[in-house]
Symmetry: C2
Subunit: 179 residues, 2 copies
């Protein structure tokens, strides 16, 4: 933040406001404290029988790698609505949501992932503008070395393990910065 | 947003950027799109034997009403770390977290609540600066008519029901605008 979005002043410092315990973007002109908080990413693990839908990314980061449909939650929607919206935008997929399936904190990039599990209602899917390709994969067909993000890799692994065991449970974890 | 935080221009409109499907704060001078996303509120339901800890709010909104310790998740922390931080800040409470306990979407105010369940490790709690009073309540002692927020009311009700049934499960829901 270079300028105050409230008054336009460039007297914005990153310093600890009175009574607070951590630095904020603080306007020296009008006194506004600009809070910046973590963002929520919502998505779906879409399945059909023994296959899971993945999208090949048409955008950076990780262009060309595969991921589950997901994206930033928007104001005015629920996390489930956001997850379904992303599935439509990225994969033109229609989904019947079963349950919330995984929650991951990624503190070093200030993100919280909420991933739902849901069944495809038909096979009329296809790439949206942010995908190069959308396809269904059986467990042994998953391009494990080409999964875009660790959170997606973990969620997929949990899914196939839970499927083998015949019971799905919520998975929760933290993705730490790579050492 | 009245001024662009990137260039200081006041040519900020709330309009749909090219290729997008919803209005954003868009700078007509430097072209920056300013995204505003939902915020995460993290908290704890702290218990000790058959009692639950509540805080009487010293700040608006809902000053003087009772709530579970919770607050905005900060950058750089996990949701569980944030929940423990809020318990300390509001109730000077030390807690051993059991599990994530409730998730509520509140789309009309762009919030997602993540509430953990955890046992107090001692009774050395007390009001932090945002609380007037902190106290333990048995089910029949809870001031149900004076609970600050519907999300807290629901989470408490689930807790006592689950306690009676001897099994805790994740609760998920949507709080809609009051009609
Ligand atoms: Zn200012
Ligand atoms: Zn600008």
């Amino acid at each position: 933040m270079k300028f105050c979005s409230q008054c336009g002043s460039n007297a914005v410092t990153f310093s600890i406001p009175q009574g607070d315990d951590r630095p904020r973007h603080l306007c020296g002109n009008c006194g506004t404290i600009h809070y910046i908080n973590p963002r929520v990413i919502v998505g779906v693990l879409p399945y059909l029988e023994d296959r899971v839908l993945l999208c090949k990314r048409a955008i950076e980061p990780r262009l060309g790698l595969w991921t589950l449909p997901a994206g930033f939650m928007e104001n005015g929607e629920t996390s489930e609505e956001g997850a379904l919206r992303e599935s439509w935008e990225e994969a033109r997929a229609s989904i019947r949501v079963d349950e919330l399936y995984s929650i991951y904190d990624i503190p070093h990039i200030n993100q919280v992932y909420l991933m739902y599990r849901g069944e495809l209602t038909d096979t009329n899917f296809g790439p949206g503008p942010e995908s190069l390709e959308v396809s269904l994969f059986r467990q042994e067909e998953i391009p494990w070395a080409e999964i875009a993000f660790p959170i997606m890799h973990k969620t997929l692994k949990h899914y196939f393990t839970d499927t083998e065991q015949g019971q799905y449970q919520l998975h929760r974890g933290v993705i730490s910065r790579k050492l």
